[in-house]
């Protein structure tokens, strides 16, 4: 019996500890009003990304809004028929806004996670092994630094049909260098600590030492850069879409802005500009504010007094 209950008890303890961590994080964010506001915005954004397309009153691309006489409502100001007004092509701005959150969420989330995971792995391996592995990986990051992201992404997207996963992959492929460098320099200092050395001395393999002794100690900074990765990915996706290199089959906020800009209606149709512009600005800023709040805690050097 006891052999069976023991791992179970251990499991409960772990789940419990995890839950406490989550609660602590929440309590921590509540203390910082800006970070808390950021969290509310992120929550609302995730909700929009998941359910926005179902909430949209009309299909964002197919449906054309028509007035009383059956004529197409083009560039109509917000009214009862269309709460957020209509576009130059007679489409419902509210529906486009609601549906447009999803590609933004997908690219932001997976681009950010990909950036964080890739950068974290490279950083840990590079810093832990040192020597020629480190040299090789760091020169690789130098190379991705010297290939300018935006022009290269535009080039790649001209000969591959843009779709949302391709854009996500390109973004992660260019952004991983940021966390990689920071994580590596953290690992360099952790590697020299006594507990890592004693783990090695007591016969732990490289893999085990990296996974159980080094990685947990640099995880916070990895998470922080994953959060920044999310904001960068969202900004990059919106920028690409604005230049006309977005997924042509999906309505995204960046694409909405491109359409206003390209159709030359920015001057009149404020109702068409503001929802996607405010949406993008709000979500990227919120993610950064949450990151900043954590950075204050993670970075021991700026925690002097106070």
């Amino acid at each position: 019996m006891s052999t069976e209950t023991k791992p179970k008890a251990e499991l409960y303890k772990r789940v419990d500890a995890l839950w406490t961590t989550v609660r602590d994080q929440f309590a921590f964010l509540r203390r910082d009003p800006m970070a808390f506001a950021g969290m509310l915005v992120v929550g609302a954004f995730v909700f929009l990304g998941l359910f926005g397309p179902y909430l949209a009153p009309h299909d964002p691309i197919e449906h054309t809004v028509r007035g009383d006489g059956g004529s197409v409502l083009r560039l109509a100001a917000p009214s009862v028929d269309a709460f957020f007004g209509t576009t130059a092509y007679g489409k419902d701005v509210l529906s486009q806004f609601l549906a447009g959150a999803r590609p933004t969420l997908i690219v932001g989330l997976f681009g950010g996670l990909g950036t964080g995971a890739l950068g974290f792995t490279v950083g840990v391996v590079s810093g832990y092994y040192g020597g020629w592995v480190d040299e090789l990986l760091m020169r690789l990051t130098d190379l991705t630094f010297s290939l300018p992201f935006m022009p290269m992404a535009l080039l790649l997207l001209t000969f591959m049909t843009p779709n949302i996963w391709l854009i996500t992959a390109i973004i992660a492929a260019f952004l991983w260098k940021m966390p990689a460098r920071v994580v590596r320099s953290e690992v360099l200092s952790v590697r020299e600590r006594t507990f890592v050395k004693s783990a090695r001395a007591s016969g732990a393999s490289d893999l085990r030492t990296m996974l159980y002794h080094v990685a947990p100690n640099v995880l916070p900074i990895g998470f922080l850069y994953t959060a920044y990765g999310v904001a960068w990915a969202i900004a990059a996706q919106a920028s690409l879409a604005f230049l006309g290199f977005g997924d042509p089959t999906m309505t995204s906020w960046g694409r909405m802005l491109r359409q206003v800009f390209a159709s030359g209606n920015m001057r009149v149709a404020w109702w068409w500009v503001l929802p996607p512009a405010i949406g993008i600005a709000a979500i990227t800023t919120s993610v950064f504010l949450i990151g900043r709040a954590y950075e204050e805690v993670i970075n021991p050097e700026i925690q002097t007094d106070q």
Binding site: P148, F149, P151, L154, S239, F261, L289
Partner: protein, 331 residues
């Protein structure tokens, strides 16, 4: 050879190697692109096969890919970029004025923001917990994390469309026909067009410098040398000046790195403001499949980054004695 010289030599070799690899990647990516601008000419039916061959030979497209590659390497590294296909003008003649237009917008903006935001950041860090610190952090975070084209759109809507203080587009008014750089830039009309994109660029980059400076001063605030200065009886401002001076290095390094990335970072700014710079030209060239122009523009952007990285590493190693010059010196 001193340690520093060895470091310098190694860093230089790496930069040269990186340039070669970056240039090769650009070559491969460009050859992967389907179609060519000639296809439009061919399908229009206005050319016969002989003329097509002649044009292809003129651009060296009839040779094997390896010969093309070697020629390409040679010409790029000697800054001979060939002819723009669509503008039928040497690429450099197209790019040079665009490059100047970009530099004249972006370099003063970066310098301005580096000085102003760093000073503000130091002051904010010194007064940690004050309302000024909180406000400056939130506002610069907003400006830094929002994609630059969205900030630009907001500014255009407010200052150009509603208040109608400044024009929304372009670098000179349409009627202006200036001759030469001096006539182009030394005019009130230019200044009128300049102020809005300049302001947006300054604000966009303010966040990084502000936070770097602020964190630097916060780190220094509890340190021993400041206690000494306080004991000596220096005023608050004098103490801040000393704490600030000691946090200059990361700011200087960061400034150098930013300078290298300046062309690629603000492509969208140029697009929104229709500023005739190198970034906007690149986007147009990609859309029109003008490869010689594209490869020259991407090459210039990559080269700028590589040179700036080199400079930043060397500066860091030179000024900071604690940095090991044996490798991995960049922060």
């Amino acid at each position: 050879m001193s340690k520093f010289q060895r470091f310098l030599l190694k860093r230089l070799a790496i930069s040269v190697l990186l340039t070669l690899i970056a240039v090769s990647v650009i070559f491969v990516v460009l050859r992967l692109l389907p179609g060519s601008p000639f296809e439009a000419l061919v399908t229009s039916g206005n050319l016969n096969q002989e003329q097509i061959d002649e044009i292809r030979a003129m651009y060296g497209l009839d040779q094997s890919i390896w010969v093309q590659y070697v020629n390409y390497l040679g010409s790029l590294l000697t800054f001979q970029f060939g002819y723009s296909i669509l503008r039928s003008q040497p690429v450099w003649d197209v790019l040079e004025p665009r490059l100047i237009n970009s530099l004249i917008l972006l370099v003063p903006a970066l310098v301005t923001t580096a000085i102003l935001s760093s000073l503000l950041g130091m002051y904010a860090g010194w007064n940690r917990g004050s309302r000024l610190e909180k406000f400056s952090i939130v506002s610069t975070t907003l400006l830094r994390s929002t994609p630059v084209f969205i900030t630009a759109i907001f500014f255009i809507i407010v200052f150009a469309y509603n208040l109608e203080i400044v024009p929304a587009l372009g670098m000179r008014s349409i009627r202006a026909t200036p001759d030469g750089y001096i006539e182009t830039f030394a005019s009130l009309d230019f200044l009128h067009h300049y102020i809005l994109p300049f302001t947006v660029a300054v604000l966009y980059y303010s966040g990084d410098f502000l936070l770097l400076a602020r964190n630097g001063v916060v780190e220094k605030r509890g340190s021993e040398f400041l206690k000494l200065h306080r004991a000596k009886g220096l005023t608050e401002m004098e103490q801040l000046a000393r704490a600030g001076r000691n946090s200059m290095l990361p700011i200087l390094t960061y400034f150098t790195l930013r300078l290298g990335m300046i062309f690629q970072g603000l492509i969208l700014l140029e697009v929104v403001f229709s500023w005739p710079g190198i970034g906007r030209e690149l986007v147009l060239a990609i859309q029109q499949q003008d490869y010689p122009l594209v490869q020259a523009a991407v090459f210039i952007m990559a080269l700028a980054v590589i040179l700036a990285n080199l400079l930043a590493d060397v500066l860091y190693a030179y000024f900071d004695p604690t940095v090991s010059t044996s490798g991995g010196g960049s922060a």
